[in-house]
Amino acid sequence: MEQVNRLGRGIEDVSRLYLSDTPRSDGDKGEKGEAALRRRRVVRIINPGSALMGAFFTANFSLELARHRHRVAIFDGEAHETDGVEAMLRNVVYPESGAEVLSVRLYGIPDISLYRARPDGAERLFELARAAQSYGEGFWLVVNTPHRMDDLVQGPAGFDAVLLSTLETSPLLQCYAYVKLIRQIDPDSRISLAFIDPASDARAMDAFSRFSAFALERLGACVDYLGRIVRDELMDRSIADHRPLVLCCEPSAARESIVAASRAFLQQRGALPPE
């Protein structure tokens, strides 16, 4: 792997991570009760329309969970060299000694391990999913899930899902199909939906209202709304530079939208107090 100078991050990057609004003690104290035990520890990120955007969201979403003092591991089911999660994190990830696991180490947040699908992806995912459940509260295994429904059926059950879609009918139908499939695999899964770059909040809300109403009526499935992920120039640059957007310190609507979606995800699961 190409050696990258990782000491070049500015104080603003570091400060942003240190200035997490989640008290450090929360991660240690954890949650109690039945709800915490029932909570899934595996989160599948599914973007049927774009592998690149799925990997991008996985990388940044994971960093945001870590910023809230959660321990995070990433499994990249896509593992594509140019548009996988590893590519998105290339500037902050390095191989652990003697292992195929990569690691993200940043000041102020727990280390993040990145597992690649190859060569033994399916087995490794089962192992990690089992381990994730045993780790219990405060830990998340974030799985960048390629759009192959058969793999999902054959993979480990017991996961939550974050679906990403544009407002076009085809990817929305794909998301609906995922909702149905996930309900068959695990009726207790929590499913969330975020829209990629819709024209406006109003359009996104309208689409979500219709989508969630249809899913509830036909499948009895409740779908949570994570908001809309905005695209901007900084997002494109962060992808091109292999530098996670949430680590960038310039003003960015895209970064704020990912931060808000991650926060909403944790709040909906009771892992973060509502604002």
Binding site: E168, Q174, A177, A199, R210, A213
Partner: protein
Amino acid sequence: MTRILKPISAETLGCLDQIFAQYFREERGMRIVERSLGNDFTGRIDLLATDGARVYLITIGTGEFPRCLFRSFTGYRWFRENRDFLGRIYSPEEIDVTLPACLIILSQDIPPGAPAVCKDVCTVPVLLYRYRLFGAPDDPDISVESLAEPEDKPVIEPSPDVLRKKLGIGPAGLSDAEILDFRAAMGPFE
């Protein structure tokens, strides 16, 4: 089919231009700039309208279709000959008469194949609308139907089978009805 619910009496058939002006304004997003432009000898345009991309010369036919068609053509010729004059009368904010022209003909008896014939032989686009009168003769309702060429109609959505293969959603087991209902529920977005 778009139904105009506003009832009219037989005596008010002369007000068709107002009713159709309302239709094109509300249903097609056009701005009606002028009514009854030109004259019966050199050419008449019943409604002059624009949507910012085109100029629409609307002919409202109350007789046989060939007469409506001829009236529309002469109206178009009048428009071409008087385009400079119209450009001086109307500000560009009202209507930009240099925009491409499009003929619209409303008639009750448009023969089959007329849209295809117009497309083949006319140098400007011709949109045909069939209108019908319903109900009592002294108090009819009006419906309007666009007779667009097949390629002008909305793209035919792929069948559920094609969608399942194309989108890779076979394992979810969505039924045909479910896919069609979903499409209907979500409607067009972007």
